[in-house]
């Protein structure tokens, strides 16, 4: 039985390996952009006005994908919160207090790291970075915060409000695009501004900042759910 199982596994994996080998042998390195990418590279500057082409694809050309992706992340956080729900006041095992050194260090480090995250998602249209990266950095700041005040319970309320308000404003800006510009999530509500400055590229900095806040709040919510079950009894 065991020999049969492992030989079946070997056949499946060997078939995959053979497929991958053929893919590798027939692959030729590319020398030209395809039509879609060439269009983005040539027209993206005059149409969107962002220096970072990845940002202009994520926020404007494929903006609907980003909206769906943020929705998926919200659903994930909600399902995790539902599954890991614990009753209040069931914490029995006392959690070890965090050391004073860590608390003092965190008091200095948390504002600095938060500032780096905010810088990354505000400058997403000029330099590498953007909403997802900045949101992830904010979430890792939240891990440090949870480690430094391990003996207190933290409420969800601030995270929930941040998430709701930023998501709502994201959709509102998208709907404003229908009224004031060409279509949903179009960024030419304002003028495009001078290329390469902070306040350029229409609504892209605003939308990416909202995406960053929303992603950060959702990831922090997931981490908070996993953190809250640490001291609780199972039931």
């Amino acid at each position: 039985m065991k020999i049969l199982r492992s030989s079946a596994l070997l056949i499946v994996v060997g078939f995959m390996a053979w497929m991958m080998f053929n893919l590798y042998v027939t692959y030729d390195s590319r020398t030209e952009l395809n039509d879609v990418a060439a269009y983005y590279a040539e027209e993206g500057l005059s149409e969107v006005g962002a220096a970072n082409l990845v940002t202009s694809i994520v926020v404007t050309y494929r903006g609907l994908d980003t909206l769906g992706e943020v929705t998926i992340l919200f659903l994930t956080a909600a399902i995790i919160g539902l599954l890991l729900k614990t009753e209040k006041g069931t914490r029995t095992t006392p959690v070890r207090e965090s050391s004073e050194f860590l608390m003092t260090g965190a008091r200095i480090l948390i504002p600095v790291i938060t500032m780096i995250g905010v810088y990354i998602f505000i400058n997403g249209h000029l330099s590498p970075g953007g909403g997802f990266q900045g949101g992830a950095i904010l979430a890792s700041t939240f891990i440090l915060l949870l480690m430094s005040i391990s003996n207190k319970k933290i409420g969800h309320r601030l995270l929930d409000y941040t998430e709701a308000i930023s998501g709502l404003s994201f959709i509102l800006i998208g709907v404003l695009g229908i009224i004031l510009a060409a279509g949903f999530l179009d960024n030419k509500i304002f003028s495009l501004g001078t290329f390469g400055t902070l306040l350029s590229a229409g609504t892209i900095p605003i939308i990416y900042s909202l995406v960053g806040l929303k992603v950060g709040a959702e990831l922090s919510n997931i981490i908070l759910e996993f953190n809250q079950i640490q001291g609780d009894e199972d039931h």
Partner: protein
């Protein structure tokens, strides 16, 4: 200008040597506490020297690199302290060559080890 570049390259080389010493220390030391000490001290100095060398090589970036050095000086000791503390509370004892363990009495009073004794 050339002298500044050569100085930056030499300082970067010294910094990477310190990182190499940190790696050798991680392999050679007997237990986790000595390894944390070797890794943190040598790699903090190594990364500071490497960044400083790059700052001398490109003088335009010197301000940003100063900020990075301040950040490393704050964050590296904190992380190694947290690692050592977690190892202590997880019940890992120092190696037999270590003679003084002033936290031995402290271990018995923490809630986690009490619970494990029951």
């Amino acid at each position: 200008m050339e002298h500044l570049k050569i100085a930056g390259a030499i300082i970067t080389l010294i910094g990477s040597l310190f990182v190499l010493f940190a790696a050798i220390g991680l392999l050679r030391m007997p237990d986790i506490y000595n390894r944390i000490q070797a890794g943190t001290k040598a790699s903090t100095l190594g990364s500071i020297l490497t960044l400083l060398g790059i700052g001398l090589y490109h003088p335009d970036w010197l301000l940003k690199i100063m900020l990075l050095i301040v950040f490393i000086v704050i964050s590296n000791p904190v992380s190694s302290h947290v690692l050592g503390r977690a190892a202590h509370f997880a019940g890992i004892l120092p190696s037999e060559k270590t003679h003084t363990n002033k936290l031995k009495e402290d271990t018995l009073e923490t809630p986690t080890t009490k619970e494990e004794k029951k």
